[in-house]
């Protein structure tokens, strides 16, 4: 009998170990696959931005976008990941109540040298650090790409790369540490909840872009002497619309990576998926609300504007408007919130234009304005929800969401404005007037976008 019990106990232990291996492999694969899905966001931004550019600048817009990706990834490796783990409690860099933050903790896991280097490179005993870092690095690159489109056709390449690195590897990371981390002071003090990063990614990037646009100025020919605006249409609307659809595909990867899987040493729960705050959620919630958000945003934008560019921007705005609460929105409510976001788009972009701001692709409006709208509206409907999984957790409130939205916006606007001011004073921001008039491709790209023009098709065979 005892032998049988021992045999059964050994078999149970073997099964448990095998099930844990499956769980670990699934978790690793889950985050790993979110990375190429998020690369689609960049394919989308590339197409969207190049399509929205006039032919004379099309390749330089592409080069700029590709370089943002290339420089933000290593910058996030060099110091961005450390910032995320060091800053949650604020500039004191002290450890928070969950004990997964502060300088000491970040020093131990996030530098590419010394003892912590074991978590920043191949390590057979660590299935988590690389895929988490990879997913966050793509969040970072996405944030930088959001700004990219608004600055097209008149920004210098190196100046832009510096802006992208500061936004992608520092500015949004600080906001994420404060409001997208269980130890973040905006979470523990104000009950901030921003599941899908409407504030910490979109509002930060949108308002960073606004700060840069103020110093960069409009494209030549955008505004007339009397202040009225001209439409400087891009060369390829279908390309732009397709790019926007690719961004939406990539968003599924972005949002799935915002869920913390159960059953691992680093999980918040042994049995259910959770948000980054440890509150319970699942992928079904995302499926309902992302789809309803996309649909609502398109419909809202269509009503006031039949332009497919704004309709597809409406799809993005729809997702962003409900991103903070994708885990707890009721789908019909998410649809209504997203419709209003779609309705807001064009008037908000027009208002910005009336202030003399030339945002070539509407990034400030789609990401900044709608990011703030989404954060605050969520505060109205989710007041009273606990913001963390712990007992006596702070609760979500309108005031908390409003304060958090303002902090996120300032995390973007202040560094964007100041850094672009410095770059401008160093002559590294705006391209010379003659180069802008001739076309940036002619000035700096040793290739032609359309060497044969955009020809009619050859005659078909008989």
């Amino acid at each position: 009998m005892e032998e049988k019990i021992a045999e059964l106990t050994a078999k149970i232990a073997e099964l448990e170990a095998s099930s844990q291996v499956t769980n670990t492999m699934f978790a690793e694969t889950y985050y790993y696959l979110s990375i190429p899905l998020m690369v689609l966001i960049h394919a989308g931004f590339l197409a969207y931005e190049m399509g929205a550019t006039r032919v004379k600048n099309v390749l330089s817009s592409g080069v700029k976008n590709i370089l943002a990706f290339a420089f933000v990834i290593p910058a996030f490796y060099f110091f961005g990941w450390w910032v995320y783990w060091a800053f949650p409690t604020g500039i004191s860099l002290s450890m928070g109540p969950m004990e997964i933050s502060g300088k000491e903790y970040a020093d131990a896991i996030a530098w590419g040298w010394g003892e912590s280097a074991q978590y920043m490179g191949p390590n057979v005993a660590d299935n988590a650090s690389g895929v988490f870092w990879g997913a966050f690095a793509l969040f970072a690159a996405t944030t930088a790409s959001i700004m990219s489109g608004s600055l097209i056709e008149r920004i210098q390449t190196v100046g832009f790369v510096i802006l992208a690195v500061v936004l992608g590897a520092f500015a949004w990371v600080v906001a994420a540490a404060w409001g997208w981390h269980a130890d973040g002071w905006l979470v523990t003090q104000f009950g901030m909840h921003d599941f899908g990063a409407a504030g910490v990614v979109h509002a930060v990037a949108g308002f960073f872009a606004l700060g840069v646009l103020i110093n960069l100025g409009p494209r030549i020919g955008k505004f007339n002497a009397d202040g009225t605006a001209n439409d400087l249409s891009g060369h390829n609307m279908p390309f732009t619309a397709t790019g926007l659809m690719l961004i939406i595909v990539g968003f599924w990867g972005f949002l799935m990576a915002c869920m913390i899987l159960p059953g691992e040493g680093w999980s918040w729960s042994g049995s259910t998926g959770t948000t980054i705050y440890g509150t319970p959620m699942n992928l079904s919630a995302l499926s309902f609300n992302i789809l309803m958000g996309i649909a609502g945003g398109i419909i809202g934008a269509w009503l006031l504007n039949r332009d497919p560019f704004w309709m597809m921007s409406g799809a993005l705005a729809g997702i962003i408007s409900v991103a903070s609460g994708l885990d707890v929105y009721f789908p019909a409510l998410a649809f209504i919130v997203a419709i209003i976001a779609g309705l807001l788009l064009r008037p908000a972009a027009k208002m910005l234009e009336n202030f003399g701001i030339d945002d070539a692709v509407g990034a400030v409006t789609v990401h900044g304005t709608i990011g703030v709208y989404g954060m605050v509206v969520f505060g109205i409907f989710a007041s009273g929800f606990p913001a963390l999984f712990i007992e006596n957790a702070p609760t979500i409130s309108i005031l908390g969401q409003l304060v958090s939205a303002i902090v996120c916006s300032l995390c973007g606007f202040i560094p964007g404005y100041l850094l672009s001011l410095v770059l401008s004073s160093l002559g590294m921001l705006r391209t010379p007037e003659a180069a802008e008039i001739a076309g940036l491709d002619t000035t700096k790209v040793p290739a032609q976008a359309f060497p044969e023009g955009i020809p009619a098709s050859a005659q078909p065979a008989e």
């Binding site: 609460g325 009721f330 007041s383």
Partner: protein
């Protein structure tokens, strides 16, 4: 609106946890969403007809 459980604590949650769960709000949200769709379609048709007429 508000947390759909008596105690504002995630440990008591064992089912639907969306805004308005267990109340009549989901019904109203759904009806409002349907009405918006219909109104938008009617308005959209009117605008398009105006363009045809021009």
């Amino acid at each position: 609106m508000g947390f759909p459980y008596d105690k504002a604590d995630w440990s008591v949650v064992d089912g639907a946890m969306f805004m308005g769960a267990g109340s009549s709000m989901p019904f109203f949200y759904t009806i409002i969403a349907i009405i918006i769709c219909i109104v938008f379609l009617i308005y959209g048709q009117m605008i398009e007809n105006d363009k045809y007429n021009k």
